[in-house]
């Protein structure tokens, strides 16, 4: 029998491995950043899905509701998303500078250019 209660973890692991695969197998720097973003969403999804309580509601105090989902993962992840976009912007800025310097954003091509300029 399949345990459907673990499906969220499996999707999270699938996304995490997809992101990791892009980061380690592709040479294009923008593709690598996209992979990092997928990895980041998987971690956020992991935290938020752990905070869910069966039959609970959004953690905003209101009369008539007794069960609330866990607010703590929400707080941590909501700041993580905004910090994530700021650090992604920093990474993209570095990519722009690399592109201007080498005329390419392919990692292997940059390595070839470096090897030509500085043999040994």
């Amino acid at each position: 029998m399949i345990e459907w209660g673990l499906y969220n973890y499996w999707v999270v692991i699938f996304l995490m491995m997809t992101g990791l695969y892009v980061v380690i197998s592709r040479g294009n720097l923008i593709k690598k950043i996209i992979g990092l973003n997928i990895f980041q969403v998987s971690v956020i999804m992991f935290y938020v899905s752990m905070g869910k309580v069966r039959g609970g509601t959004a953690p905003i105090d209101a009369p008539g509701f007794e069960i609330y989902s866990n607010p703590l993962p929400h707080v941590l992840m909501l700041t993580a998303i905004v910090v994530g976009v700021a650090t992604t912007a920093l990474a993209l800025a570095i990519v722009v500078r690399i592109g201007e310097e080498y005329g390419t954003i392919e990692e292997d091509k940059i390595r070839e250019i470096e090897a030509e300029e500085h043999p040994n």
């Binding site: 209660g5 491995m17 997809t18 892009v22 294009n28 953690p59 866990n70 993209l92």
Partner: protein
């Protein structure tokens, strides 16, 4: 309980992720990232994380897509096939890592289990005492700004630092020029 909405959304998310990594055209991949964000925002909503969903929708659909497109405009928008061939070794590595992680999930608490360890420690305090200690109905805001104000202070500083980094990397030239001009004016003013 994992109902049909969760199942479908989770599956869509996985499908879109596969589509993103298979695309050679970076422009299309960035557009799909927007859809990926929208799907994850819907998932956050059904998982009761309304604040997170709000942030993800605004950031994913608005800001990060625009920044990626700006980067594509400044660099190149196609992967070079020569440098992006299929490689077997990374695939083996991620499949093995994934298998180990899936094996580990069998010890995890089930989805939505109220008895899970995460719900036993500090969260009950926040849920029960926010009203009398802080007096704010939205517990996420109360935890964010008051109980864990130090965390948020640190996060704000990280955003500030990232902005300074981007300004130095992309606009450094203009900043240096501005300072030079001002110093020249000062020197002229003194003499």
């Amino acid at each position: 309980m994992l109902d049909i909405v969760h199942l479908v959304l989770f599956t869509f998310l996985a499908v879109v992720a596969v589509a993103i990594i298979r695309l050679k055209d970076l422009f299309a991949a960035v557009m799909l990232m927007g859809i990926f964000s929208l799907l994850s925002a819907s998932l956050f909503t059904v998982m009761d994380a309304v604040d997170v969903a709000f942030t993800e929708a605004a950031v994913g659909a608005g800001i990060s897509t625009i920044l990626m497109l700006a980067t594509l405009a400044l660099t190149e928008s196609e992967e070079e096939p020569k440098y992006n061939r299929f490689k077997i070794l990374p695939l083996i590595a991620v499949v093995l890592t994934g298998a180990v992680l899936v094996f580990a999930t069998f010890d995890m608490p089930r989805y939505g289990d109220p008895e899970a360890p995460i719900h036993q420690h500090v969260a009950p305090h926040y849920i029960e005492h926010t009203d009398d200690e802080i007096g704010v109905p939205n517990m996420v805001t109360a935890v964010l700004a008051s109980y864990r104000g130090y965390d948020t202070w640190g996060e704000t500083t990280v955003i500030f630092t990232a902005c300074v980094g981007v300004m130095l990397l992309l606009g450094g030239h203009a900043i240096v020029e501005r300072f030079r001009r001002r110093r020249k004016l000062d020197v002229e003013g003194d003499s």
